[in-house]
Symmetry: C2
Subunit: 123 residues, 2 copies
DNA sequence: CCAAGTACCTGGCTATGTCAAGTACTAATC
DNA sequence: GATTAGTACTTGACATAGCCAGGTACTTGG
């Protein structure tokens, strides 16, 4: 589980959070732990909490507080209906990206000339 | 080919550019056109050129100018040896990310309780 | 009382994609 | 020969979102 490239994560976290919290309600701390288990190794709390707050502010997550006997109150989040829409959109973008990247990475043969000018007369 | 999420592209572009320019030399404008064909629909010139410049500055790409009869001189880039190393690292991160995201998206059954506290006594 | 585990929040930093505008060369048209 | 359109590259100001460091606060146990 190597260090994840911070940049690669961008945008992905939103989708991941909406997915997890659509399946079942959860609170920040637990989500962080879960994500570490799922392969998002270096993921910091300072990344997840602001993301949850943002998604709530955007109406994609709903939150409720619940007292806990093992520490401070937990903020449970659940994906809302607009959140599900956003998730669907997000997944589509993700799949397109994966497809496009796949096409580049598994590029078959480097034999086709690419020249935007129609090769009328070249230097 | 829907609008790509700008955030999702982050970090990916670097990898894609290093890949394309490792296969064969190319100049910015042509790369932009090529990427559009490959599924990176909304990709702007203003995104690609700075990326190329950055990669050159970092030593991952080498550049040379070539006059053209169809417009201003073209700046041809080719991936360097360090660029190939970076590409390898980058691909690894990407594959890990795709795997991790895959695990979340195709999450099988939402039945397992996840609670960081060992359920000693819950509210 | 203090430490450690749980749980959340914030400010400042950074990286990078986007937009808009600009420069400049060539060829074709009027 | 000035204008326009296509080719080709650059840049500055902006927005987003992840990261780090540090802070707050509740609970339990020594």
């Amino acid at each position: 589980m190597a260090e994840n490239d911070p940049q690669l994560l961008k945008g992905v976290l939103t989708m991941v959070l909406l997915t997890l919290l659509a399946e079942e309600e959860g609170y920040g701390y637990a989500v962080v732990v879960r994500l570490h288990e799922l392969g998002f190794a270096g993921l910091a709390e300072g990344t997840v909490y602001p993301a949850l707050t943002r998604l709530e502010r955007q109406g994609f997550l709903a939150a409720r507080l619940e007292r806990s006997s093992s520490g401070p109150a937990r903020k449970y989040y659940r994906t809302t209906a607009p959140g599900l829409d956003e998730l669907a959109r997000s997944r589509r973008s993700w799949e397109e990206l994966v497809a496009a990247v796949g096409q580049v990475l598994e590029s078959p043969a480097p034999g086709n000339e690419r020249d935007t000018s129609k090769t009328k007369k070249e230097a």
